[in-house]
Amino acid sequence: MNNFLYFWNHFAFVLLMVGGLFIIIVSQNYIKKIVGLAIFQTSVFVFFVSLAKIIDGTAPILNPINTIYSNPLPHVLILTAIVVGVATSALGLAIVLQIYRNYGTIEENEIKKEELKDIS
């Protein structure tokens, strides 16, 4: 049981991740899907950053008082991943805007009805 509590950051990560995936799958609204995607990606950022924490560690700047530093590399990686996430959301929203202009709605079930009209 102790072990479970020790890795609580992993549980937080999994909860966020599954929540995000759930929103992506269940919601009919395309903007909500992008929100779900953002939560899903953020969960991974949280996971990476929490990996870097070393107990009692501080910011990795050389100074005479502290000798234990947290690992800076995951933060740098996640900085890149955040940029990628922002770009993905921005592109997704741009496409949703175009979908709205072309279909007049951003609800998946209504777009499916439109699709059927296209075919028949």
Binding site: V44, F47, F48, L77, T88, I95, Q98
Partner: protein
């Protein structure tokens, strides 16, 4: 000059990326096209230079900023990726020459210049995917290629608004796949503290097979890459994305995009994952092998029932990816060899088919369906015969390079004593004849007596270059077989040397 050539491994990725940023500001679409061609000619030159260097040195590790590998990012050029690098470079050039007229008629005039900016971005990042030796760097290239290809796919909305839905689905599914991959990277980093692939192999070999964290991490990475390369149950984004994209874009991605990610998938699988012998064989035998067979059958059968030809070709791509993963699931050098051969051949075949169909699409200005191409054998004979050659090669008729793929695949399966799989593959090849025959029947055996209309040399010359290369590599198969056997050797040897 030599200063540039020393950095050739970085330049093959950096050159398209830098030029793409510059040409985004050029308003004239003809000028951007011209600059793109010049860039890709330089790119091809650099690729030949790299090929020469790799064939004399065997392996090149390029360190960015002279940071030694475990700390800095590095590119690795060896037998596995150098042949593909050359194929990518050459095919990107041919497709770019072909794309000019297609973009002009399928994309809004103001966008066609900017489309080349995205086009170069996609080419540069795909090159990065096959060359990189750093697992996080791969994620960045994956996302650059995904974002640029999504934008290019959504440009198809000018003709059919469904391109937007296809692009959106690809965005969501692709982002989930890439994020899964990053979760895997996180687990691997937590256990080993390294992102460099060579170092990762050394660090991972300290852990026993029972380590759950490593197993979880590897599973996340492999599943993420399988989503991105459209291996069977994760393929749903691919058919709409390829069929509603502008035809030149479908050509580039059908030929190159999934292959680049498959190469990295195979490298992770064989170079890193294979140090855990039990997991590795279980994954290949009970995971990849049944999925590949399912992909082959379901892809082929759905293709038979398609009316829309670009969709038909997209589903046939799913089946062909199935053949490639089937070859790699054998865990033997002969199987891996046939997988590499099929990556080369399928890139050329599918590229040629999409090119020909793209020409039909712009000449009739609507979706290319089985009904609408009736009699095109008489109307557009030059393009139709090129399509016939590509299609025969897809089926695997002797004297075409598709036959070489099938031959080596059957040889590998036979030496592995997998007789049931041989029967299934033979059956699926027979099924492939059905969907291709439907196209041929409409093209050449119809009662509509069209007169031959003049065709555009700017389009049919690139198509025929591809078609002739299919026959050339079918008759003189040694270049492709040689590249592939070097690739297979260095992939398998990479495992043994650890």
């Amino acid at each position: 000059m030599n200063i540039f050539l020393d950095d050739a491994p970085a330049l093959v990725v950096a050159l398209p990326l830098i030029v793409s940023a510059i040409i985004a500001f050029i308003p004239s679409s003809r000028l951007t096209w011209f600059i793109t061609i010049i860039t890709l000619v330089c790119h091809l030159f650099l690729s030949f230079e790299l090929l020469e260097r790799v064939s004399s040195l065997g392996i090149i590790i390029y360190e960015f900023g002279n940071w030694p590998p475990p700390w800095g990012i590095s590119f690795k050029l060896d037998g596995v990726n150098i042949g593909l690098q050359l194929l990518f470079s050459a095919f990107a050039l041919i497709t770019t020459i072909y794309s000019r007229k297609i973009f002009l008629s399928e994309i809004d005039h103001h966008d066609s210049g900017k489309a080349y900016s995205l086009w170069l971005l996609a080419i540069g990042s795909l090159n990065g995917i096959i060359l990189t030796n750093d697992i996080f760097n791969l994620f960045v290239f994956l996302e650059i290629s995904a974002l640029s290809s999504i934008s290019l796919i959504s440009l198809g909305a000018g003709i059919n608004r469904r391109a937007l839905l296809a692009a959106f689905n690809y965005l969501i599914i692709g982002a989930i796949g890439a994020t899964f991959y990053v979760i895997g990277v996180g687990f691997a980093y937590a256990m080993t503290g390294t992102l460099n692939m060579n170092d990762l192999i050394i660090q991972l070999s300290q852990y026993s097979e029972g380590q759950l964290a490593i197993f979880a991490g590897m599973s996340f990475m492999l599943i993420g890459l399988m989503v991105k390369s459209a291996v069977f149950p994760m393929h749903l984004w691919l058919p709409p994305a390829y069929s509603y994209a502008p035809s030149a874009v479908s050509t580039l991605f059908a030929a190159l995009a999934t292959k680049a990610i498959l190469i990295f998938f195979v490298r992770i699988l064989y170079e890193v994952f294979s140090i855990y012998d039990d997991y590795f064989t279980i994954f290949l035998e009970y995971g990849l092998l049944p999925l590949s067979l399912a992909a082959i059958f379901i892809g082929t059968i759905i293709a038979i029932y398609q009316d829309d030809i670009k969709k038909l070709l997209a589903y046939s791509s799913i089946a062909q990816i199935g053949y490639i993963t089937l070859a790699f699931s054998m865990n033997e050098s002969s199987g891996v060899l046939s997988g590499f051969i099929h990556i080369f051949n399928h890139a050329l075949i599918k590229g040629g088919l999409f090119m020909a169909v793209g020409y039909f699409a712009i000449s009739i200005n609507e979706r290319v369906t089985l009904q609408s191409i009736e009699g095109f054998g008489q109307k557009f004979p030059i393009t139709s015969y090129a399509l016939l050659i590509c299609g025969l090669s897809l089926i695997g008729l002797p004297l075409t390079n598709g036959f070489i793929s099938k031959l080596y695949l059957f040889q590998a399966l036979y030496s592995d004593q997998m007789f049931l799989t041989i029967a299934l593959v033979a059956l699926s090849s027979a099924l492939a004849v059905i969907y291709f025959w439907k196209i041929v029947e409409k093209l050449f055996f119809s009662s509509k007596g069209y007169k031959a209309s003049s065709e555009d040399p700017a389009i049919y010359i690139p198509i025929w270059i591809v078609a002739i290369s299919l026959i050339y590599f079918g008759v003189f198969s040694s270049p492709i077989v040689e590249f592939s056997s070097i690739a297979a050797d260095s992939l398998i040897k990479g495992v043994l040397s650890e």
